[in-house]
């Protein structure tokens, strides 16, 4: 069996090196349902239905309107066909299906520094859509679709025989097949880069933004706490399936040299994502890649915006990392956070806990009292009151 699998894998690799060509998509195209592309749309519609029901779906109208507005600003002629789903998932990712269904993950929105960078990534995904890259991959990877069907049927038969639910096996095969279709070749990625760049720069955005977001992701990957991540080209993200090479970044830099400067829209971008910043940062921390989270936080702080939220988050990272000296650094970060108006009230609770652990009882008591003054309805007030009572009874 292993030789057969190897043969299939080799076949797929060859296919990815020489994709079958598909035609440029005209705006408003709706394929015949009986065609290959029509069938592919059907598959993607199922995935889109799952996205609509996903717990990760971000339904904030303002954020959705904003991202859609950026997409339409670079793709006016396709605007009516694009359906964007913002998913609260911490990795840098975006994707677009041939039926116009696009996913934008919060990990991308958290990492893009400005509207120009977001416009480039959206333009890149649009490039796959406009050039029918998914259809090309479908044509070259029919084997995956067949394998998915065989596994699904086989699991169903086995499940009926043994009386167990094997639907998960079928779902896994199905998702693997879908993922394989969305895994583009190097040539397709370069073409999508070029399209994304031209659309973004053509709409008046800063042309250096394209290479910049790539480099930022490389820097974050190099900072990772995890060796397996550092050894990858780019942290688990859209770039893991998008070959990221020095040549690719260099190509984008070369394109930028031929274009005049444009707008970044840095503050407008931050204003759009600001309501979600605390939640997205917390989700990012749940990956427990502390060093990468620190690198990201430090980069976000460079704009001098949202410093209460960001310094509090830095404290959260350091407190959970617990390396030598981290508790002192976390205490300092919480203390810094308290100097800004946007500081989360929890900063005083955490500050009090750390001050006590570091031996400053007066500072601990002061921080806890401030927490109790400000967090008037918090359900954990009794914890802080207990701590304060214990501290005062021992003094």
């Amino acid at each position: 069996m292993s030789s057969r699998v190897a043969a299939v894998a080799a076949g797929l690799l060859l296919a990815s090196a020489a994709p079958a060509l598909a035609q440029h998509r005209a705006p408003g195209l709706v394929p015949d349902p009986s065609s290959v592309e029509g069938g592919l749309w059907g598959v993607m519609e199922r995935t889109e239905r799952d996205a609509k029901n996903s717990a990760d779906l971000n339904t904030d109208p303002a954020l959705n309107d904003y991202v859609r507005g950026v997409a339409c600003s670079i793709a006016t002629e396709y605007c009516s066909e694009i359906r964007i789903y913002i998913m609260d998932r911490p990795l840098l990712n975006a994707s677009m299906a041939p039926n116009g269904y696009m996913e934008v993950w919060s990990g991308l929105l958290l990492r893009a520094e400005n509207e120009a960078q977001l416009a480039f990534v959206l333009g890149h995904e649009l490039g796959h859509f406009v050039e029918n890259h998914t259809l090309e991959r479908w044509n070259t990877q029919k084997t995956w679709a067949t394998a998915a069907m065989v596994i699904t049927v086989g699991a169903g038969v086995a499940g009926a025989y043994y009386g167990v639910d094997t639907s998960a096996i079928g779902d896994l095969a199905y998702l693997t097949a879908v993922a394989s279709v969305m895994n583009y070749s190097r040539g397709q990625e370069s073409q999508a880069d070029a399209i994304g760049f031209e659309r973004m720069a053509g709409a008046g955005f800063d042309p250096t933004a394209a290479a910049a977001i790539w480099r930022q992701q490389q820097d974050e990957t190099r900072a990772s706490s995890f060796r397996s991540v550092r050894q990858s080209e780019a942290m688990g993200s859209v770039f893991r399936t998008h070959p990221l090479t020095a040549e690719r970044v260099a190509a984008l830099e070369a394109m930028a040299r031929d274009h005049a400067g444009g707008r970044e829209e840095r503050e407008r971008y931050r204003a759009a994502i600001r309501p979600h910043l605390p939640a997205w940062l917390a989700e990012d921390l749940s990956r427990r890649d502390f060093n990468a989270s620190l690198a990201l936080t430090e980069r976000l702080e460079r704009d001098g915006l949202d410093l209460g939220v960001l310094e509090f988050h830095r404290g959260q990272i350091l407190r959970q990392r617990r390396d030598d000296g981290d508790l002192e650094s976390a205490r300092d970060a919480y203390l810094t956070a308290t100097k800004y108006e946007d500081v989360p009230v929890a900063a005083w609770r955490e500050l009090g806990d750390l001050e006590l652990r570091l031996g400053d009882r007066e500072a601990a008591a002061a921080a806890w009292r401030t927490y109790l003054e400000r967090a008037t309805t918090a359900d954990d007030r009794w914890i802080v009151e207990d701590s304060l009572t214990a501290l005062e009874s021992n003094s």
């Binding site: 069996m1 057969r4 699998v5 299939v8 799952d50 029901n53 996903s54 717990a55 990760d56 779906l57 609260d88 394998a147 065989v150 596994i151 049927v153 086989g154 699991a155 038969v157 086995a158 499940g159 025989y161 043994y162 167990v164 094997t166 096996i169 706490s225 995890f226 060796r227 397996s228 749940s286 990956r287 427990r288 890649d289 407190r319 617990r322 609770r349 955490e350 806990d353 652990r357 359900d379 954990d380 009794w382 914890i383 207990d386 701590s387």
Partner: protein, 193 residues
């Protein structure tokens, strides 16, 4: 190729079936969690621990792990996990530390629920609890599965003998959570150290 894939599917189903055979009955009454910790079950549960991959943590269920599950830890010490990471050198799941504050204990439990692949995990109703003479913390949990199913739960962390004893009850908010909550909380009340 087709024959091989069908064989693979059959093998997978057979392994799944074989694994199910290791689920045992945990009858009503005393149940040993491990290392000196016991609980009293007010009804029979099924013990899924042998197929859970968990260490220092027991996993019980009434209707199957997708419909309700009760995690009970023995006393955790610094360096222990509720959810084991795939790679211990790259710890992607929360690690317990004995110096954690009560707030951090709640955070540790919530983050561990996230590490079980639940989404949007949130805690509320953080309240003190007395369990066999020890003051601990109990709180409500709300989460969702990736497919959007609302999950409700109750978490508990009690420190005794320099160890942390954790209990987590999780079930779909629709019907199942309320159905088994009393039994789960009664079990949480009965933890001995």
């Amino acid at each position: 190729m087709k024959k091989s894939l069908v064989s693979l599917a059959v093998l997978g189903a057979a392994l799944a079936l074989a694994a199910c055979e290791t689920v045992t009955l945990a009858p009503a009454g005393a149940y040993a969690v491990g290392k000196g910790s016991n609980v009293t079950l007010t009804r029979a549960w099924s013990d899924f621990t042998p197929i859970s991959g968990l260490k220092k943590v027991r996993m019980l269920s009434i209707d199957g792990p997708l419909l309700n599950r009760l995690y009970l830890s023995e006393g955790l010490v610094t360096g222990d996990y509720i959810v084991q990471p795939v790679n211990r050198r790259e710890a992607t799941t929360p690690l317990y530390d004995a110096s954690m504050s009560v707030t951090e204990q709640v955070e540790f439990v919530a983050n561990s629920v996230t590490a079980m692949s639940y989404e949007r995990v949130a805690t509320s109703g953080v309240r003190p609890v007395q369990v066999n003479g020890q003051r601990g913390v109990r709180f409500d949990i709300e989460a969702a599965t990736e497919a959007g199913l609302v999950i409700k739960g109750v978490g508990q962390a009690v420190k005794a003998n320099d160890r942390l004893y954790v209990a987590i009850y999780l079930a779909p908010g629709e019907h199942y959570f309320a159905e088994s909550r009393a039994s789960a909380e009664s079990t949480m009340d009965s933890v001995t150290f």
